[in-house]
Each structure stands twice: as C-alpha cells, then as structure tokens.
C-alpha cells in the first residue's frame, strides 16, 4: 500500500500546532530524505532530514559498539531547546524540535503518541 503523505503531513501539522512548546517536526527515511515535515521557517527540509539520519545512525552505532542495546531515542539538549529523534518503525525516523520551556515528561509522552499514530499510516 502506498504511503499516504498527506495524512503524514496532517498528523505532523496537528502535532506541532496543538502541542505546547513544540516548534517543529519531521518524518524522514533512514537514508535522510524527507517524507513529511513541518519545520520553523528558515530550516531546510532536505538538510534537516539528512542530519536526522546521520545522527540516528551514529546513535545506533554507539548502541551496538558500546553495548547500549537498541536505541529508543536520541536527544540533543541546547540552551534554546530540545531536538529529539525517535525511530519510527524500520522505514522512518521522527524528529521533534521543542523549545526550552517544554516539560520533558510531556514531550516524551506526546512523541510516543505521535509515533504510534504515524506508524499506522506508514504501515
């Protein structure tokens, strides 16, 4: 069955606009191509996708080489906010950008919900 990209975009749009403190989200292929994205202005979809793929693959490599097991998520915490990468099935990676005010517990829960919703569409 073909992937419904409109539905993916719709889920991302709803996720970004209805969740407090979330500034952007993207769903990309493991080789770094965008499937759907809803990102703050000035961020290039292709570049963001490639970065997400590179980061996740390095994280997974660390998981294997340094015996940390399967990687659930990778989070980058900066002075201006969070960037969280979550694997979303075998064929996709989910990236979420949140501002500094975001509560981590809420953020992780929201991501978990979005991932299960996205997985249904990805099949």
């Amino acid at each position: 069955m073909a992937i419904n990209t409109e539905k993916l975009s719709y889920i991302l749009q709803t996720f970004v606009s209805t969740t407090a403190d979330i500034q952007g989200a993207a769903i990309v292929t493991p080789d770094g191509l965008p499937l759907a994205a809803n990102l703050p202005g000035g961020m290039d979809e292709e570049r963001v996708s490639a970065m997400s793929a590179a980061m996740l693959s390095l994280g997974e490599r660390i998981g294997v080489e340094l015996a940390r097991g399967t990687i659930d998520r990778i989070a980058v915490e900066g002075t201006d906010g969070f960037s969280v990468l979550t694997s979303c099935g075998a064929d996709a990676v989910f990236l979420v950008l949140a501002n500094k005010a975001a509560k981590q517990g809420v953020l992780m829960l929201e991501i978990k919900r979005a991932v299960s919703e996205l997985k249904l569409v990805l099949g």
């Binding site: 490639a50 793929a53 080489e65």
Partner: protein, 184 residues
C-alpha cells in the same frame, strides 16, 4: 606516533565505503542505510554519517581514514569531518562521466570551506583518486581533471588510480597521498 586524518570524499558509488573497509586493520565503523533515492539504482545501501577505519603505514605513522556520504544533502558531514582532516582524497568513478559535475561540486565545496577552517590556515591538500578504471568506457585521466576544473596540467592536484577492493592498491594510494598531508 604521527596520526594523519584523511577524508575520503566523492560521488555516490565512487567506492568510498569499499575503500575504507579495505583499509580496515582493526574494525571498521560504518553507517550504511537502505537507499531510497536514485542511489538505489546503483547499490542497495548508502553511507549516512561516516565510515571509519585506520591503518599503520609505518611503525610511527598511522592513518585515520574517514569515508563521507556522497549525496550533497550530507554536506554538513563533509564540513564536520574536514575540520580535523589533514588530507582529502577525492574518489571519482572514471566510467561515469555524468557524475563528474557532482564531483566538481564536492571539490568546490571542500576547497571553499577548508580555506576558512578555524584551526588551520592552509587549505586542505587534495588528491584525486580514479576508481572503476577497469570498467568499459572509462574517461582518460586528463578528461576527468578537465571536468573537475583543472584545465592546466601543471596546476592540478596529484592523481592516483585506485581499486578500492584491492588492499595493495588502497595502501599504495594512501602512501602516495600521505606525503602531501599538512602535518602540523
């Protein structure tokens, strides 16, 4: 012990990952993912972060070899890796003239960005490595250099022919290239 950090750049399918794997003396780090773009027509998987391996060329010279992704969207990885590099080996598949333009773009990007590296005044020395020279319809080295923008034969980087599958050939290319590294 001197360590020279080499980045292996080049277009998709030039043989960068194979090169790094062949170098591999003690474990190779690779970050291959299933390809879903036009890369998939050439090969099933593609590098998304970097490949890494190392080799001792002599008792007091060690090379750390970093293979980069080939697609332009990963140019941030080229930038990160070139920060600490002392040498760049640009692999070009001699039998795919349609890729020479992308190779020229990669070269331009590396030359431009390496000139403004924070910790190093000199631009990154570049060596061109021709691969796939055993395939039919290969371009002549001079034609490849011209396509890369080096029209003057007296002003062009060194050229080596390399078979990324063959350990002797890979080591030979690295030995020749390492003489040019800007070791500080």
């Amino acid at each position: 012990m001197t360590v020279i950090r080499v980045i292996v750049a080049g277009t998709v399918g030039a043989g960068k990952s194979t090169f790094v794997q062949t170098v591999g003396e003690m474990g190779v780090v690779c970050t291959d993912r299933l390809a879903t773009d036009e890369t998939a027509l050439l090969k099933p998987t593609t590098t998304v972060a970097f490949d890494f391996s190392r080799v001792h060329l002599s008792p007091d010279l060690s090379l750390h070899v970093y293979g980069t992704p080939g697609q332009y969207r990963f140019n941030f990885m080229w930038e990160i890796l070139m920060q600490q590099a002392q040498l760049c080996l640009l692999l070009v598949a001699a039998h795919r003239p349609q890729d020479f333009e992308s190779a020229r773009k990669i070269l331009a990007f590396i030359q431009q960005r390496s000139a403004s590296r924070a910790n190093c005044a000199a631009p990154l020395p570049i060596v061109v490595g021709l691969t796939h020279t055993d395939c039919p319809n290969v371009s002549m080295p001079a034609a490849v250099m011209a396509a890369l923008g080096y029209s003057n034969p007296y002003h062009q980087p060194p050229l080596v022919t390399v078979n990324p599958h063959d350990k002797a050939s890979v080591l030979q290319a690295l030995t020749v290239s390492s003489g040019l590294a800007s070791v500080s």
